[in-house]
């Protein structure tokens, strides 16, 4: 039994660790049946040293090396899977992963498990997959009856896990793949990118200070930026704040934004719509500041403050500044 982790150009640093943590969690749950962890370094982003340090037994790279074309990537990965015959293929569950992995499953006649956040052992000793349903309100445990299972890893589900270092000798193998010339059915015409931001990204931040429609204006985010800077965190937002044009789409947290799981999430002027909760409810500590004491956000908060943010945030900033001085 083999586990194959697919790493793309984005899967470096923390994301690579998340993928490897997921692979080792699956390995542990399959009670050693999945004896080998292999890595498909699909875009040449992972060094041999990193792979060795992570305990990967075998690293595959493509010949010819990949071009920046998503159809070609999928095609090459599918060919690799046909050669390697893993029982489980893992792909990071970002926008690209969620496009490719189901296609790979169809092509390989494999089962597909989307947004896997944990693994269990079945009664018969097999591997079972845990994933959120109903926007995270519930979990389901699935078993696969296919020879191969393709899964996407839910971002942030494995980021805080401990992993035992394993001593391995990593073997590097080059896979020959045939890449069809692109049919060019899709071409990019234009891109609207938001301005660059400073400080940690939403994905990396240990503290996120998030604002919603309750801030009332773009200026309202000023105090939140200060608070985020004070706590070395990032600024997040609800979709309502993004749609109002107060902050860039990159900051959006939720079902259609980024999934985050920081140590501390501070929701300010956010009502707590299910679509927002879907992206932040697994934060370790949640603080809610809202002037409506019946706002649903209080239902998921560890600590709730019923107040106007315009009063409490400046007072909080002063309080934090005083103690840290």
């Amino acid at each position: 039994m083999k586990l194959l982790v697919v790493a793309t150009a984005l899967d470096v640093g923390g994301r690579f660790d998340e993928l490897m943590n997921a692979a080792f969690a699956a390995h542990a749950a399959s009670r050693g049946q999945a004896a080998e962890i292999h890595l498909l370094d699909a875009e040449g982003a992972v060094t041999d040293i990193a792979a060795q340090a992570a305990g990967v037994q075998r690293v595959y790279r493509f010949n010819p090396a990949m071009v920046n074309n998503s159809d070609a990537l999928l095609d090459a990965v599918a060919q690799a899977c046909a050669q390697i015959k893993p029982s489980c293929v893992m792909w990071m569950g970002d926008v690209a992963g969620h496009q490719h992995a189901p296609r790979l499953a169809v092509r390989a006649k494999a089962a597909y498990v989307s947004g896997c956040c944990g693994f269990e052992t079945t009664a018969s000793g097999g591997l079972a997959f845990v994933r959120p349903i109903y926007g995270g309100k519930a979990l389901e445990v699935l078993e696969s009856n296919a020879a191969m299972t393709v899964l996407t890893v839910k971002p942030k589900s494995f980021s805080n896990q401990e992993r035992q270092p394993v001593a391995t000798q990593t073997v590097v193998e080059v896979l020959n793949v045939v890449i069809q010339p692109s049919s060019a059915a899709i071409t990019r015409v234009s891109v609207d990118k938001p301005e660059e931001q400073t400080g940690p990204t939403l994905e990396d931040a240990q503290v996120i200070v998030s604002g919603g429609r309750g801030l009332g204006s773009a200026e309202g985010f000023g105090a939140l930026r200060e608070l985020a800077a004070q706590l070395n965190g990032a600024v997040g937002a609800s979709r309502a704040a993004v749609d109002a044009g107060w902050i860039s789409a990159k900051s959006q947290v939720g079902q259609t934004g980024t999934t985050v799981a920081p140590n501390l999430y501070i929701a300010i002027g956010i009502s707590g719509a299910v679509q927002h909760l879907a992206g932040m409810s697994s934060a370790r500590h949640i603080v809610a500041i809202n002037k409506d004491d019946e706002a649903p956000i209080f239902g998921v908060a560890d600590v709730g403050v019923v107040a106007d943010y315009r009063e409490i945030v400046p007072a909080l900033l002063a309080e934090l500044a005083e103690r840290s001085a």
Binding site: G135, S183, T187, S281, V300
Partner: protein, 262 residues
Amino acid sequence: MRIFVCVKQALDWNASTKDFRIDAATHKVSVSFARYRIDQFDEIALEVALQCRTKHGGQVSALTAGPADADDVLRHAFAMKADQATLIEGAGDGIATAALLAAAVRHYGGGAIVLCGRTSSDNGSGQTGPALAEILGLPFVANVVQIDGEENAWLCRCETADGYETLKVTTPFVASVTNAATNIPRVPTMKDVMQAHRAKLEVLAAATLCPDSATCTPMTRVLRRYVPVTARTGQRIDGAPAQQAKALAEYIRQCLPAHGES
């Protein structure tokens, strides 16, 4: 030109689900006052298709795979002014559902554009679109918010991780749709809702569409579904703003690792 929109019936995402429970034996959700309706992103996909029809003409067909009582989502599609609607009776799950939808599209001779919602609010896999594209052998465009015609091509405005991009695509293609300020689903008039009740649906049997294809058989099995216990304290900080700020600062400091030790 024919645009197929795949829609599904789901528990109303915006309904209050305070007593959200899952039956251990059936794996089904039980909530009081459960309301089932067309799923949120599917309704948005219909809106995008209807806007495209307004600009460029053509026919909008709604497709659903599900139980017989899923016909209400098709009636809703009619009320929004879809031209045609088909119920595929008996659904698989995941890729098996995509296989059924693909078979139905083929049954009608294929479509220029096949749309579906970005992800469902119940299962939340987001696999239908990509799987449909793969089964039909078509290109796939993710997270489209608007489709405009150009000579021999279509311009899809797509949401990306950090903004938007516009992609030029030739038909036929499959796309998933996401929400934006420009595609908030229209609210049908009372008259259209009444008319939709009498509209004629087409029904296809899953068994005839997918007699023995392996892709129509589910490959995963649900072992368990449950609502996780969350251990949130939900503690309120009361008092005057200055006192609240003090207590909150205290809590925040405790949460931060650097301060936790001192």
